[in-house]
């Protein structure tokens, strides 16, 4: 169990990333593709936080515990993940906005039916 536990979170992150990329490549609907991109991004959250975890640690927030009383996990990765989540939300919003316009101008959101920009 422990040997598996040592790498399981990393492997889950890698799996989620690959699954998202697969969905993105085979998507038949741009809104679905944007969702897959969000799945890909959630892999980065998982990986970052897994990297910063410490066994028996608790959150590095000292509003309700005394500093130094308990080991804490890495606060830096948490800050990075926070930034990452904001980035993810904004990218999702922007791509959805573009998709809405595609639906208007092309009458479809299926990438197979977009017949422009070839060659």
């Amino acid at each position: 169990m422990t040997a598996v536990m040592h790498v399981l979170p990393y492997l889950v992150a890698a799996y989620v990333f690959l699954v998202g990329a697969y969905g993105l490549a085979t998507s038949r609907n741009l809104i679905h593709a944007v969702g897959c991109l969000a799945v890909c991004q959630s892999a980065t959250y998982v990986l970052l936080l897994a990297v910063g975890y410490r066994d028996g640690g608790t959150a590095p927030v000292f509003s309700d515990i005394r500093p130094g009383s308990r080991p804490v996990v890495d606060p830096v990765v948490q800050a990075l993940t926070l930034t990452d989540i904001v980035v993810g939300a904004t990218v999702t919003a922007l791509l959805l906005a573009l998709t809405v316009q595609i639906a208007k101008r092309h009458g479809t959101v299926d990438p197979d039916e977009l017949r422009e920009l070839r060659g």
């Binding site: 799945v39 959630s42 910063g52 927030v61 926070l82 989540i85």
Partner: protein, 87 residues
């Protein structure tokens, strides 16, 4: 024992991710993404990152589904437009 809850959260995230990719209809995918957001928040809590969990809840449980559903609605309404005047 604390590992068990980490495993549960990880498996839930992996399962949601798979389901979110496998369901090709954007409305259904939006529902799964909402559950994925909740699972991620649980994972972040057990990884002792409540700050991140809060922002994932804030974004994942209402904002992202709302954005996706509004886009779906606009796209559907557009394609329904002209065929029948279903509003």
């Amino acid at each position: 024992m604390t590992d068990a809850v980490v495993v549960v959260a990880l498996l839930a995230v992996a399962g949601c991710a798979t389901a979110a990719v496998a369901n090709r209809d954007p409305a259904r995918q939006a529902l799964i993404l909402a559950v994925l957001g909740t699972s991620l928040a649980v994972l972040f809590t057990v990884l002792q990152a409540p700050d991140v969990g809060l922002s994932q809840l804030a974004v994942g449980s209402a904002l992202t589904p709302l954005l996706i559903m509004l886009s779906v609605r606009k796209v559907r309404r557009r394609s329904a437009h002209g065929k029948d005047s279903r509003q």
